[in-house]
């Protein structure tokens, strides 16, 4: 039952379940984001609204959504549909220098723009205070300003809703799992959309374990480092579990436990680590610094990856079996955590076939 903004407020915003994807923003004057929060400015009494329909944390039937995107239901329970998985890294230092890992996302988007596969890309950039926001990139230079991560979610999809658009552009989107889930919901929504979502032609997903809530995290960094600019944030893989922070010319390490409290509550109920509703999903490779994992899910994804490779923007390597098994394990673990957390939340937003639930819960942790 779509309850418009009233429903979004009671089921998502008031429950702390907003994933900060931005799908509900710039659709109307009732919702606006400010410093990492989606804020309702006025009451809207519509019984049906796009905000509710597009939200990744309202009522989502994942099986139906997968059917709409991939032509089959929620069957590949480990990491979603996979054509192949490779290791990859960008070949030019302009991509790798500012990148979180191998610079593959930047290279892919730059090539897609330069080769005319898309005319615009929705990316996420951070301002001087680390506040992430959606940005329309049209050139390689635009792409480079968005490289890197701050582990904070921003309202990326707002840029898609806001435009401005000429009306002809093919659009690519780089997003977190929640953002791509929202995008899939936007495409599948039965409501009159009045957005440019139907011109989104390339979806690059990012791996994600959790993301931080901007306001408390920014406050924490400010208390710790004052007004000095934060240049880079980086998380070391287990067993270290540290957040590396480059502040001005200094290097600091913060135990992950110290920032765990800032993880958005909506991340606890997320079932998706590898951005399953994408053409291509990109993440780290454990134990291989400077490389990315790339999961190819669709023919379109395959096509773009090959194109980037052939243009010399990146190179690929066979993915080691043991790392692939480990990745799938991590993905299943997130799903198990999410399903358990869903038992405790008031609003059951996600619908999965019982068969899939049973299969996920049956998988045994190593």
């Amino acid at each position: 039952m779509n309850n418009g903004l009233k429903g979004l407020e009671s089921k998502v915003l008031d429950q702390g379940q907003c994933a900060a994807c931005g799908a509900c923003l710039s659709l109307c004057p009732y919702l606006r984001s400010f410093k990492g929060r989606a804020v309702k400015l006025h009451d809207c009494d519509l019984s049906e609204g796009r905000c509710f329909s597009f939200c990744p944390r309202t009522e989502v039937d994942l099986d139906a959504l997968h059917r709409a995107v991939f032509g089959k239901g929620y069957e590949d329970i480990e990491t979603g549909p996979v054509r192949r998985v490779v290791m990859a890294r960008a070949l030019t230092p302009e991509f790798t220098k500012r990148a979180q890992n191998g610079g593959v996302v930047s290279a892919l988007m730059a090539v897609a723009l330069e080769e005319g596969r898309i005319q615009a890309a929705i990316l996420t950039e951070r301002d001087s205070e680390l506040l992430p926001q959606g940005r329309i990139a049209k050139t390689k230079e635009d792409v480079l300003t968005c490289a890197g991560s701050s582990y904070v979610t921003g309202y990326t999809l707002e840029a898609l809703n806001r435009g401005p658009w000429q009306g002809q552009e093919r659009i690519g989107v780089v997003g977190l799992p929640c953002q791509l889930l929202a995008l899939a919901r936007m495409k599948a929504s039965p409501l009159e959309k009045r957005t440019s979502v139907d011109r989104v032609d390339l979806l690059v997903g990012l791996f994600c374990t959790w993301a931080l809530d901007y306001r408390p995290f920014a406050e924490f960094l400010k208390k710790r480092f004052g007004d000095k600019p934060i240049r880079k944030l980086d998380i070391t893989p287990p067993p270290e579990r540290l957040l590396n922070v480059t502040v001005g010319n200094e290097f600091h390490q913060i135990p992950l436990e110290d920032i765990r409290a800032f993880i958005r509550p909506s991340c606890q109920v997320c079932l998706d680590m590898t951005s399953e509703l994408s053409d291509l999903s990109v993440g780290t490779v454990e134990g291989e610094e400077g490389w990315n994992t790339v999961i190819v899910r669709t023919a379109r994804g395959e096509d773009v990856l090959r194109c980037a490779e052939s243009k010399g923007a990146l190179e690929t390597r066979v993915y080691p079996e043991d790392k692939w098994a480990h990745l799938k394990q991590a993905s299943i673990l997130k799903k198990q955590r999410g399903l358990n957390a869903l038992k405790d939340v008031q609003e059951k937003y996600v619908t999965l076939p019982q068969k899939a639930i049973d299969a996920i819960l049956k998988e045994v942790a190593p």
């Binding site: 109307c28 400010f34 410093k35 929060r37 400015l41 009451d43 409501l191």
Partner: protein, 636 residues
């Protein structure tokens, strides 16, 4: 030619009660008049200012009531007749000085007119100011008719001079704001020579000698009020019921007695001098009746004082039954009316009386609904305050820390209601928003994490907010003051103030710049145009995030009513019907359902918004909020 300055003795003219009071002052040869605007008193100074040039008076809008009282006291000390007027709240402001002035006494006649507002029609309270006469041992006069309003005011000056005391004249809304016939008397043109007699210093300290002298003056006043023609009795010698009344109660009582046809059973004792009481007159009539009813507006002032008198002399007066507010016969709050008096008389005298047919009220409402368009109590079309509160609402929501707005009385007080989007959370006295903010702004150490905002108007700023700001700065409070500078004392009728560059009589005056004042007090100051919603919201957000010290955001935009008198619309505004989203997702009637400027209307038939040309003042703010850019503004 000013209506009240006609040199036409014997002529009968139709005057508003406040004009009659002003005329009375002129007939007494008043020279200096001062006030701060406040309904229902504002027209007294308003009409005197129009006579100022012709009659060579000094008339001023003072910065507040206490200063006004001090200004007229100076004139009195220098031997001139002077008048000071205010509403009931204003007397509280002036009371500190007044309750010292009673001890030092006056020279030239000094009259304090206080217009009370029973029912609080245009006030935050319905305080009864008469108690101040008792506290301060000041003679108190209560006019009951328009003629009395003039004549008693004139008499108040000579009474003041006879006693060397300020004299209070208490009016109420229905006397001050209604109109009636008034027969004019001679208009004197006294030569004035102001001089302060330095051999007679006016020193309230030490208070003891002054207090004794004051009590002696009251003793002298008692016989003077005994013989006043404003106190009279009408009715049988031994009435079944004695009705004691004053001021507005007189006309209500007279109407009720006539309507019920009980003139032979009820005696009406109408008092014009209610402090000190004409004790002998009151006791003479108390002796004649067993039942006594008190009819007066707001507090049981007469009732208590007569009972006090009775208690002292009960052995001579015999047993009585008193009816009034204490017995529950008369209401203790709100205005009274002929119907209320009729009902009281009906139950006390067991008279069958139906003041109105039973369905009168419902039929009146039905008739009114047909004839009068429904209008909410809200801001005018194009009012800058609506835009201001829209920005406040947005800024506080975005900030997300449950910030709140502390306010006070003024047009912007409507910010507590729908047209201010319910943003204002406190209303008390003039400048109290800023004062409360100076307090809230220091509670962070006790865990207050909500941002604090205060609003005050430009006139209110000079009146009472400046000390609060000084206090806040001195004690280190942290808050944002929104100074709504609409270049007028709008709520009371657009009187000029120290920021407008004009005096009460239209003369040029220096402009006391709000920005310069606030900066000199050490506040961080920014000026914005509330019609620029985005910039205003951003400025508020920026100040809200700043957790140090006093920030003042001056929202500068002339009152829509003042502007419309001077110039045409700023913009011609139109709704493009094609683009208007109406109730669709993406708008859902933001302009007519949420923003709700009366200049906009919702056309049910087409499902689109429109502009009401007759009401729109062309501020163009709706064009800024329209999400579909359907509302277009073009420079008019």
């Amino acid at each position: 030619m000013s209506l009240i300055a006609q040199d036409a003795p014997g002529k009968t003219v139709l005057l508003m009660g406040n004009e009659a009071i002003a005329r009375g002052a002129l007939e007494a040869g008043v020279k200096v008049c001062a006030a701060y605007p406040g309904n229902p008193s504002s027209e007294i100074i308003g009409s005197l200012s129009s006579a100022a040039d012709a009659l060579d008076l000094h008339v001023e809008w003072s910065v507040n009531e206490k200063v006004a009282m001090e200004v007229v006291a100076a004139a009195s000390f220098a031997g001139l007749r002077s008048l000071c007027s205010m509403k009931q709240n204003g007397l509280n402001v002036a009371a500190d000085f007044l309750l010292n002035l009673n001890l030092t006494g006056t020279q030239g006649g000094l009259v304090v007119v206080v217009a009370d507002d029973p029912g609080g029609i245009s006030s935050t309270n319905e305080e009864d100011s008469r108690i101040f006469a008792k506290i301060g041992n000041l003679p108190l006069l209560e006019p009951a008719t328009f003629q009395e309003a003039k004549d008693m005011t004139r008499w108040a000056f000579s009474l003041s001079e006879d006693l060397g005391l300020p004299v209070m004249v208490r009016s109420v809304t229905r006397v001050s704001h209604a109109r009636g016939n008034v027969r004019l008397d001679v208009l004197p043109r006294p030569a004035a020579k102001a001089r302060f007699d330095i051999s007679r210093p006016r020193l309230a300290f030490p208070p003891f000698p002054g207090h004794k002298a004051l009590l002696q003056k009251m003793d002298r006043a008692r016989p003077m009020v005994e013989t006043s023609a404003y106190n009279f009795y009408r009715g049988p010698e031994k009435p079944e019921l004695l009705l004691v009344t004053s001021g507005s109660g007189w006309m209500y009582s007279l109407e009720a007695v006539i309507n019920l046809g009980v003139q032979d059973r009820v005696g009406l004792l109408k008092l014009g001098t209610t402090w000190p009481l004409p004790a002998n007159l009151v006791m003479k009539h108390l002796k004649q009746a067993e039942k006594v009813l008190f009819v007066e507006e707001v507090d049981p002032f007469l009732e208590s004082n007569v009972k006090e008198l009775f208690a002292q002399h009960c052995m001579d007066l015999g047993l009585k039954r008193f009816y009034g507010k204490a017995s529950g016969t008369m209401p203790s709050a709100g205005e009274i009316s002929p119907e209320i008096v009729s009902s009281a008389l009906q139950s006390l005298l067991k008279v069958a009386y139906q003041p109105r047919p039973e369905d009168y009220t419902s039929r009146a409402h039905e008739a009114a609904a047909e004839l009068v368009p429904a209008r909410a109590l809200g801001f005018c079309a194009g009012c800058p305050h609506r835009a201001t509160y829209w920005a406040v609402k947005s800024a506080l929501a975005l900030d997300g820390r449950e910030g709140f707005v502390l306010g006070d009385i003024g047009c912007y007080g409507l910010g507590m209601g729908p047209s201010g989007f319910f943003q204002m959370k406190t209303i008390h006295a003039m400048g109290s928003g800023a004062g409360l903010a100076a307090g809230f702004g220091q509670l962070e150490r006790f865990g207050l994490s909500q941002p604090v905002l205060a609003v005050c108007g430009d006139s209110t700023f000079y009146h009472a907010a400046m000390p609060a700001l000084v206090n806040a700065r001195y004690n280190g409070a942290n808050f944002v003051l929104l100074l709504l500078d609409n270049s007028a004392t709008a709520m009371t009728g657009f009187q000029p103030h120290p920021g407008t560059g004009r005096t009460a009589t239209g003369k040029e005056a220096p402009v006391l710049d709000l920005k310069v004042i606030c900066e000199s007090l050490g506040a961080k100051v920014q000026v914005t145009d509330p019609f620029d919603l985005a910039a205003t919201t951003d400025a508020m957000l920026k100040f809200l995030q700043d957790r140090e010290g006093v920030k003042v955001l001056i929202l500068k935009r002339e009152c829509a009513l003042v502007r419309s008198k001077k110039q045409k619309k700023l913009f011609q505004v139109e709704v493009n019907q094609e683009r208007c989203l109406g109730e669709a997702c993406g708008c859902n009637r933001l302009c007519t359902r949420v923003f709700k400027c009366p200049g906009l209307y919702w056309d049910r038939a087409t499902g689109k918004a429109g502009i009401d040309e007759a009401i729109c003042t062309g501020c163009g703010v709706c064009a800024e909020i329209c999400p579909a850019s359907a509302i277009r503004k073009e420079v008019a």
